[in-house]
Amino acid sequence: MKTKKLIIPYILWMVVFTLIPLVLIISNTCRDNNGNFTLMFLQKALNYKDEFLYSLWVAFLSTSICLVLAYPLSYFISQSSERAQSTYTMLIMVPMWMNFLLRVRAWVLLLQTNGPIDSFLNMIGIDIPLMYNTGAVVLGMVYEFLPFMILPLTTVMGKIDKSLIEAAQDLGCSKFNVIRKVVFPLSVPGIISGVTMVFVPSASTFLVSQYLGGPNNRMIGDVIEMLYKSDKHTASAIALLLMIVILVFMVIMNRFGDEEAVGV
């Protein structure tokens, strides 16, 4: 087929910028400076188990909070008129028009000691550390990735036929039961893609934790970034492990989705 030729630019791009780096990472992981095969670096990578688990924990928290915040909002949006829907969607996209790093920097300015929020809390007699803790990291993540949860949820919920909701009411569902018995099962594909789109970048991101978490709340992304300058072999090994973990996670999520989304 002639249309096959259309994907050549993309394939070239992927080979040069994804496939080759991936091969390099694997090669860095498995070979020492002399080019001999070794599993030593993978073993070394396991020394960073704590950062690994911490990253997954932060990603889990961020994803859960995003889901809880986004689900009711998405339902509301999907039930509003078409014109309102596009307005809401645009409003949700607005923060994404600004650079990611700028937004994280903005949080630093807001949360730092003697910053506006800290000053206000001190004024009313509350003195708690706002920055350099897990809470701040999760806050930054949720802020960063919330739209990626809302958009797929809204899309999937918007596709649920309104007459299904009416049919559920007709058959005796209260408003809550309509959500539990019809909207929720039918929105599972949206939940899956939302969770994937938030969890994966949350687990592997760096800088957010550097800015908001400080040196004691390092995530695995930060470790890779820092380590690469001094020990690219171990850094590559960690990156490889992270990719495998994420891959396993995505496979599990997709399996789950296939089972739930029968007939949708």
């Binding site: 007459s163 009411q169 007709d170 058959l171």
Partner: protein, 472 residues
């Protein structure tokens, strides 16, 4: 059928965006009857159904269920179930789970749910389909799952919103009989919505004919067919010759220039009326024996009968007859008195009558500017001073729709279009009044058109003089 209303609607009014959807609907639905709401799309039949189901609250008016007012009661608290237009089966559940959905919500014991679902699936002829995914079913099967899902809840009233609309003709015919069988067997009240008149006549105990948010007629299928209340109903139900007539006196009517005996009275003397004659009720005779004489212009064999077009003067009549006369031959026609159905005209006067003020004029010009519904129009009928109120009688052919899409009055609503044998009688509604128009063209009902005036056909008389205007 027991003659006790189970659902009653009283003075129901609904508006969307300022447009009237339902206009003072009064309806009693009797217990255990099969009643059909019939009308063209946009007539308000589905809206009526949604009000009964509780999906829509009327702007004003009351809904009663067994004598109790149920306005504001949500759908899940009404003992009424619905079969939706596109079935609305839950795609994440299989056939069994779909049918069991309502029973599970009622927290019935598992064995009872199983027994009832199994029995209901047998009634709708879907035994053995329990485990199937609903997306794997054919249209007719999905439709039966939808009926089973609604009926298994044991509602007193089942609402059906054009449930056969998506099926092909053959399946639709089978399902019509099936539905009637299910209704008789389960002894439930069925409220059925359709735009298909044949479907309505086939299945219903009573038919409610609706148009433009109003009920035009309620009656048994036989009543509706044989005694249509007005030209709209006659036109909508079956085929009909709808003609202009003149009621000379009781039991005497003039149609197409000939006088006929009829069985109606009470219309007064020399009253313009609408006449309905079904094509099968016109008897073909020799020219000498006929009450009217016409020329056959076309014959089509339809299996059971011949369909003939016969020209009488300017008017074309449709005749269904088991004997045929060749095209070009001259025939006589007779109609027995009880087959002539006489109805009041849809439009109260035979012409448009309205007043307009002269807003600009010059003494040396016969053309004055008048204001009609805020639009300034030119009228050539001689000089009238500014401020004069003119009474204008405009015959139906003094109005026309310009093919270019421009008009002197824009966005005029087409309320009804009825073929009168020689022209279409079209009733229009503008912001302030209704208009009657005769046109050779067909217009689409429930759309908006621009209309133009041909004042050369109008009769104009001034109501007041300049002096009166000055005194005011």
């Amino acid at each position: 059928m027991e003659q006790k209303p189970i659902v009653s609607l009283r003075n129901i009014n609904v508006k969307f965006d300022g447009e009237v959807i339902l206009n003072n609907i009064d309806l009693d639905i009797m217990d255990k009857e099969f009643i059909t709401l019939l009308g063209p799309s946009g007539c308000g039949k589905t809206t009526t159904l949604r009000i009964i189901g509780g999906f829509l609250e009327p702007d004003s008016g009351d809904v009663f269920y067994e004598g109790k007012r149920i306005n504001g009661t949500p759908p899940n608290k009404r003992n009424i179930n619905t079969v939706f237009q596109k079935y609305a089966l839950f795609p994440h559940l299989n056939v069994y789970e779909n049918v069991a959905f309502g029973l599970k919500l009622k927290k019935l014991p598992k064995e009872e749910i199983k027994a009832r679902v199994t029995k209901m699936l047998a009634i709708v002829d879907l035994k053995g389909y329990e485990k199937r995914a609903v997306s794997k079913l054919s249209g007719g099967q999905q439709q039966r799952v939808a009926i089973a899902r609604a009926l298994v809840c044991d509602p007193d009233v089942l609402l059906l919103d054009e449930p056969l609309g998506a099926l092909d003709l053959k399946l639709r015919k089978d399902m019509q009989i099936e539905l009637k069988r299910i209704q008789k067997m389960t002894r439930k009240t069925f409220v059925y919505v359709t735009h298909d008149q044949e479907e309505a006549l086939t299945m219903s105990d009573r038919v409610v004919v609706m148009n433009n948010g109003k009920i035009e007629q309620i009656g048994t299928p036989i009543d509706i067919y044989n005694e249509p209340a007005n030209a709209f109903v006659a036109d909508f139900i079956g085929e009909a010759n709808i003609l202009d007539g003149l009621m000379l006196k009781d039991y005497r009517v003039r149609i197409l220039g000939s006088d006929f005996k009829c069985v109606d009275k009470g219309f007064g003397e020399n009253t313009p009326v609408d006449i309905v004659i079904r094509p099968e009720d016109i008897e073909v005779t020799s020219p000498e024996e006929g009450t009217v004489v016409g020329d056959v212009t076309g014959v089509v064999f339809k299996g059971v009968h011949y369909e003939m077009e016969v020209k009488v003067g300017k008017c074309t009549l449709l005749i269904h007859s088991t004997v045929s006369s060749p095209a070009g031959s001259r025939i006589g026609m007779r109609v027995s008195p009880d087959n002539i159905h006489i109805m009041n005209k849809l439009f109260p006067t035979p012409y448009n009558e309205f007043t307009a003020e002269v807003v600009d004029s010059a003494e040396d010009s016969p053309v004055v500017t008048i204001s009609v519904e805020g639009k300034e129009l030119e009228l050539e009928n001689g000089y009238y001073p500014k401020g004069t109120i003119l009474s204008i009688q405009l015959p139906p052919d003094g109005l026309y729709v310009d093919g270019e899409g421009v008009g002197q009055l824009t966005d005029v609503f087409v309320e009804s279009v009825i073929w009168k044998g020689a022209h279409n009688e079209i009733i229009l509604e503008s912001d302030e009044r209704k208009w009657i128009m005769h046109s050779a063209q067909d217009e689409q009902v429930a759309t908006y058109v621009p209309i133009c005036f041909d004042f050369s056909k109008a009769v104009v008389t001034p109501v007041n003089t300049q002096e009166d205007a000055d005194e005011n």
